[in-house]
């Protein structure tokens, strides 16, 4: 049902003639617990409105399949969630509406409200939707270093600080690593090496880029080979755990939660899970420098209106989005779960999330880290990203299990990835 015309509103305090009706939202499955209270709070703030949410699978292939099927059946919700890597594809598929409509609608939330690097993840840089913004970040998540304070205390090691570089991290991780019968029983560091949030900032720190001028991968560059060698050498040494080890450690959060890894490189979104599982005290620090400069990975999930939502329920959808990003609206409820750093710059120092009881105590790290964020190039099509992930995992196994050379493994991966890249770019015209 179409909502009544919207009076300008930002959060509950400013609603004058709040729209009413039913708003449909598709959310990612792992967000259900944290978003249910958000929806309840919105319904309480907007009597007469009702949010009807449905759950989407969060794994890439299933998410795409579900949303593409719903688009073909004309059954999209008014608002849908997505992961950053799908913005271009979903925009071209007609799943998402251009959010410039909302950002330029005269409300309090504009493009300038958001941390630019995170909004830029949804700015389409090529193709028929070029220049459009197809998503609004839910949070501003950068990779930081989580560490188990008890492990450090037991080993009589000082906690990580801003002076750390990669070599120092390896040195400490080696001291924290425990082995038995040749098998590592506790890893010094858990880090997903074949994850763009690890290798993109690393290659940048070494003075290069992931893609060449033609937009193809250059994994065999000196910087790339050096970066992957730095990490995979430590995986081979049994000091770092990467994807190959995570499969049996219950993923990266499981490794940290069970004490199988003393440090991990991960994001704020995992804090609720980590708080539930880690029994020891823990905290966070900035990512160590590489080659004298600090860079870190970044990413986000987002929400966007759909073309159906824009056509049939625009007023209510815009009202919800406005309320969602308000300090006393959705952001307050959502940040109380510990899962989100607000993407709205005005809230970077807000007590709604900085005053939450520890751990983590050093919450400033999450906001400070944004200045060092490097995103995965948005020109990489989502179809190709799945090939990249698969090929880099194989490269990791080639090096760490079979003892192959890093250069050869990356050369093989690059050939397959660039084949897929060329095929997809040709197919998309």
């Amino acid at each position: 049902m179409a909502a009544a015309p919207l009076a300008i509103a930002a959060g509950s305090r400013m609603s004058v003639a709040a729209p009413t009706g039913k708003l449909t939202i598709s959310i990612l499955d792992f967000l259900e617990v944290s978003l249910k209270p958000v929806f309840a709070a919105y319904e309480a703030a907007r009597p007469g409105s009702k949010i009807d949410y449905s759950v989407l699978p969060s794994t890439g292939p299933e998410l795409r399949q579900t949303l593409l099927s719903r688009r073909m059946a004309n059954k999209l919700a008014d608002i849908t969630y997505l992961a950053d890597i799908f913005a271009t594809q979903f925009a071209e598929a007609g799943i998402l509406a251009d959010m410039r409509g909302f950002l330029n609608s005269g409300g309090p939330i504009t493009a300038d409200s958001f941390a630019k690097p995170f909004l830029d993840q949804y700015l389409i840089v090529s193709g028929p939707k070029k220049g459009g913004i197809y998503g609004l970040p839910q949070g501003a998540d950068t990779v930081v270093l989580f560490y188990n304070k008890k492990h450090f205390d037991d080993a009589k090691l000082p906690y990580p600080d801003d002076s750390w570089d990669f070599d120092k991290q390896v040195e400490v991780a080696t001291k924290l690593t425990q082995k038995s019968g040749g098998q590592t029983t506790r890893y010094g560091l858990g880090v997903s090496v074949p994850w763009h949030a690890t290798y993109v900032p690393g290659i940048t720190a070494l003075g290069d880029s992931l893609l060449d001028d033609k937009g193809l991968f250059k994994l065999t560059s000196d910087a790339s080979v050096k970066l992957f060698t730095m990490y995979w050498e430590q995986v081979k040494n049994g000091v770092f755990a990467s994807n190959t080890q995570f499969a049996q450690l219950g993923q990266i959060q499981g490794a940290f939660g069970s004490g199988a890894a003393s440090m991990i490189q991960s994001v704020r979104a995992l804090v609720p899970l980590i708080k539930q599982t880690v029994k020891d005290d823990w905290d966070v620090a900035l990512e160590p420098k590489i080659n004298g400069s600090r860079h870190t990975g970044m990413g986000s999930i987002a929400l966007a209106t759909t073309p159906q939502g824009e056509a049939n329920n625009k007023a209510l959808a815009y009202d919800f989005l406005t309320w969602f990003y308000a300090e006393d609206g959705g952001m307050k409820v959502l940040t109380s779960t510990y899962a989100v750093v607000p993407p709205v710059t005005a809230l970077f120092n807000s007590p709604i999330w900085t005053a939450l009881p520890p751990p983590p105590a050093n919450v400033k790290v999450f906001a400070d880290s944004i200045a060092f964020g490097n995103m995965n190039p948005t020109s990489i099509p989502a179809d190709v990203q799945s090939v990249v992930d698969n090929e880099l995992l194989k490269a990791e196994q080639q090096v760490t299990i079979s003892g192959g050379s890093v250069a050869d493994a990356l050369k093989t991966a690059q050939a397959t990835i660039n084949d897929a890249m060329s095929r997809t770019l040709a197919s998309n015209g």
């Binding site: 598929a93 590592t184 049996q248 199988a260 179809d383 194989k394 197919s427 998309n428």
Partner: protein
């Protein structure tokens, strides 16, 4: 000598001659009556088979035909489909990952089907006796069938865990240093196939048990009287009697291992390490839903369908023409 189906349906000549108006014209009447009876039989057959046929067509035949049609296109669910003819089939021959996954699938079939058939038969024979608590033992054997594939895969992943898994702990008690089973290119597939065999045993045991209990005990008694020992009874009496069931179990497991092993592989190894468990169904899934290459994935699916259909025909037990009649 037995009668054919037609003979059984046809009225006896004597009966036909007793029909009103019969006489010299009776052959025509008999033929008409036979046609009427055949028509009624066909109607009944259609009534019983019809609903199944409709559902089979909707859920099997139509998707198979649609998959074949899709295999002639290049389509990513976003742009318009582009007709490419048989190009997708030609691409299979040039795709090293496709060829690798065909080999891995064949390897899994060998590691999975043969042990499943043999172990099912052996275990069914062992529990085909009444002893104290036999129903409890049978229930334990059937337990895997009620556990979901994904739950089983998670359970076995823990069993294989080199750090905390019970398998390596058990081996260590005997002084054997267990490997990292699921991250070893040599052992990953046998480790996965063991889980698949474990999951598929119950159905095989049930079918063999049913077949064993159908064997006429007088045959076994006669064999004993003739002085046959246990092995000879197994080879000359029991095995021939369960042979049709063996073919059925073979085909069921062949199809099941090729098509239904996706969840176990996905959860336990994700197709790794280094594609050592990258079976065809996993690759098709990646192509269709991770890379959105639906046309190429459909070409591989069609090829897989043809392979399984041919194998099913090869392993279908030879029919006795007399039995048909």
């Amino acid at each position: 000598m037995g009668k054919t189906v037609t003979e059984l349906h046809a009225p006896a000549p004597a009966a036909v001659s007793r029909l009103p108006g019969s006489g010299r014209a009776s052959p025509r009447v008999a033929a008409r009556r036979r046609r009427a009876l055949d028509g009624a039989a066909a109607l009944w057959a259609l009534l019983f088979v019809g609903p199944n046929l409709v559902l089979f067509s909707i859920f099997i035949v139509v998707p198979v035909l649609a998959a074949f049609a899709l295999s002639l296109f290049d389509w990513n669910m976003i742009a318009d489909p582009r007709f490419v003819g048989l190009q997708n089939y030609a691409d299979i021959l040039r795709d090293p990952r496709a060829l690798n996954s065909i080999i891995k699938t064949a390897y899994l079939v060998i590691l999975g089907v043969i042990p499943t058939v043999l172990l099912s038969f052996g275990m069914a024979a062992l529990i085909n006796t009444r002893f104290l608590g036999y129903s409890v033992v049978r229930t334990l054997y059937f337990l895997p069938i009620v556990i979901s594939f994904v739950a089983s895969a998670v359970l076995w992943r823990f069993i294989y865990d080199p750090r905390v898994g019970p398998l390596n702990a058990l081996l260590a008690m005997f002084g054997v240093n267990g490997t990292n089973w699921l991250q070893n290119t040599t052992w990953a597939m046998p480790a996965v196939s063991l889980v698949i065999v474990w999951l598929r045993l119950p159905l095989g045991i049930i079918l063999y048990l049913a077949a064993l209990q159908q064997i006429n005990s007088s045959l076994l008694e006669a064999a004993e009287i003739d002085g046959a020992n246990s092995w000879q009874k197994l080879v000359h009496v029991i095995w021939p009697n369960v042979r049709p069931v063996t073919f059925m179990i073979l085909i069921i497991n062949l199809r099941g291992i090729i098509f239904d092993s996706f969840d176990v592989v996905q959860v336990m190894t994700g197709g790794g390490p280094l594609d050592s468990t990258d079976i065809l169904i996993k690759y098709i899934y990646d192509l269709a839903f991770a890379q959105l290459r639906l046309g190429y994935a459909s070409a591989l699916s069609t090829m897989l369908f043809i392979i399984v259909a041919v194998l099913a025909l090869v392993f279908t037990p030879p029919q006795n023409p007399r039995a048909v009649r």
